[in-house]
């Protein structure tokens, strides 16, 4: 339990940094995509915005528990296990969710594509951290 919590916290801090870098990277690399976030559907002036900055810890804790339950079936090197874990998370959780969002909400394909890539990166990075801290 202690290993799950400590690995989850370390992954949470790492993913928080990644998330903030991701926000600025979106502005620098995809300016037209960044402008789409001005749509009132994304209420950046709401107090709920702070919840976004807690999401890395929610994901990391859930993934840390999931890693602890599945690490036995993941074989191979440090990189193989981490990447495979991230891919499993992205395909099982992120991809169907993105599919639903794209079908139901007025968001562009490039926008949801960046969400998928962010989710995949989060899964892989979390997997690599778990592999080191809770092999």
């Amino acid at each position: 339990m202690k290993k799950i919590a400590s690995a989850g916290i370390v992954a949470g801090i790492t993913l928080l940094i990644l998330s903030v870098i991701g926000l600025y990277a979106t502005i620098w690399l995809f300016p037209s995509l960044a402008t789409q976030y001005f749509d009132p559907a994304f209420d950046a002036q709401s107090s709920r915005v702070m919840i976004y900055f807690l999401h890395p810890f929610v994901i990391s804790m859930a993934l840390s528990w999931f890693w602890n339950r599945t690490k036995g079936v993941l074989t191979g090197s440090f990189l193989t296990r981490g990447i495979e874990f991230g891919l499993i998370y992205a395909l099982v959780a992120i991809f169907p969710m993105i599919w639903l969002i794209y079908s139901a909400m007025n968001v562009s394909l490039p926008m949801v594509a960046t969400w998928f890539v962010l989710g995949l990166l989060q899964g892989v990075i979390a997997g690599l951290i778990f592999e080191k801290m809770n092999p």
Binding site: P31, T35, P40, A44, F53
Partner: protein, 197 residues
């Protein structure tokens, strides 16, 4: 006795001529207008164009060819504002300007302006204007270039930089606060008023 009669006739004629030399005219805004809004953000500068503008004014022409601006009212439809950044920015503009409750930006001349020369090359005038944005009215000073011919069309052109926060508007942000618009926006307008009576 005859001389007194002539003097009285002359005085009456002068009074009549001078009374009719100043003619008050109603003016309406013609379709040939340009109203733009420019702003900044930490991404890049942005531009918006106001699509629907209406207005009227009252002008008194003086005997010397100059005119007095008695009243000018210009209304701009908030939902006709279109951004070069597309619909996301448009919707954000309508939300920031509280378009549901305040569908118009209103520009009203605050004080009468006297003896403006009707210059074909343009004459710079300082005007006090009551500007209503998002339901908040503020008196602002503007420098406007008035161009016109005696008893003809009059055009006004000017630029004014204002702060959104002065009108109770929070400068829009996006991407969880990382993408920010600047507080200052610049409005540029070019309008032509034509006599309507």
């Amino acid at each position: 006795m005859k001389q007194i009669k002539y003097l009285l006739l002359a005085a009456t004629a002068i009074t009549w001529i001078s009374a009719n030399a100043d003619t008050q005219n109603k003016y309406t805004l013609s379709k040939s207008y340009t109203v733009t809004i420019n702003g900044t953000s930490n991404l890049h500068d942005w531009d918006e164009t106001v699509g629907s503008v209406s207005g009227d004014g009252i002008v008194t022409w003086n005997g010397d060819g100059s005119f007095d601006l008695e009243a000018v009212n210009i209304k701009m439809e908030v939902r006709s504002i279109k951004s070069n950044e597309g619909s996301a920015m448009n919707n954000n503009t309508y939300k920031a300007l509280k378009a549901d409750n305040n569908p118009e930006i209103i520009f009203a001349l605050g004080t009468q302006l006297k003896s403006i020369p009707a210059s074909a090359t343009g004459h710079s005038i300082s005007a006090k204007v009551n500007l209503t944005i998002a339901g908040v009215t503020k008196a602002v000073d503007m420098t406007v270039t008035a161009t016109g011919q005696a008893h003809g069309n009059i055009s006004f052109e000017g630029t004014k930089t204002i702060k959104m926060t002065d009108f109770g508007i929070t400068p829009p942000v996006a991407l969880f606060g990382t993408l920010k618009t600047g507080d200052e926006i610049t409005k540029h307008f070019k309008t032509v008023f034509v006599a309507s009576n």
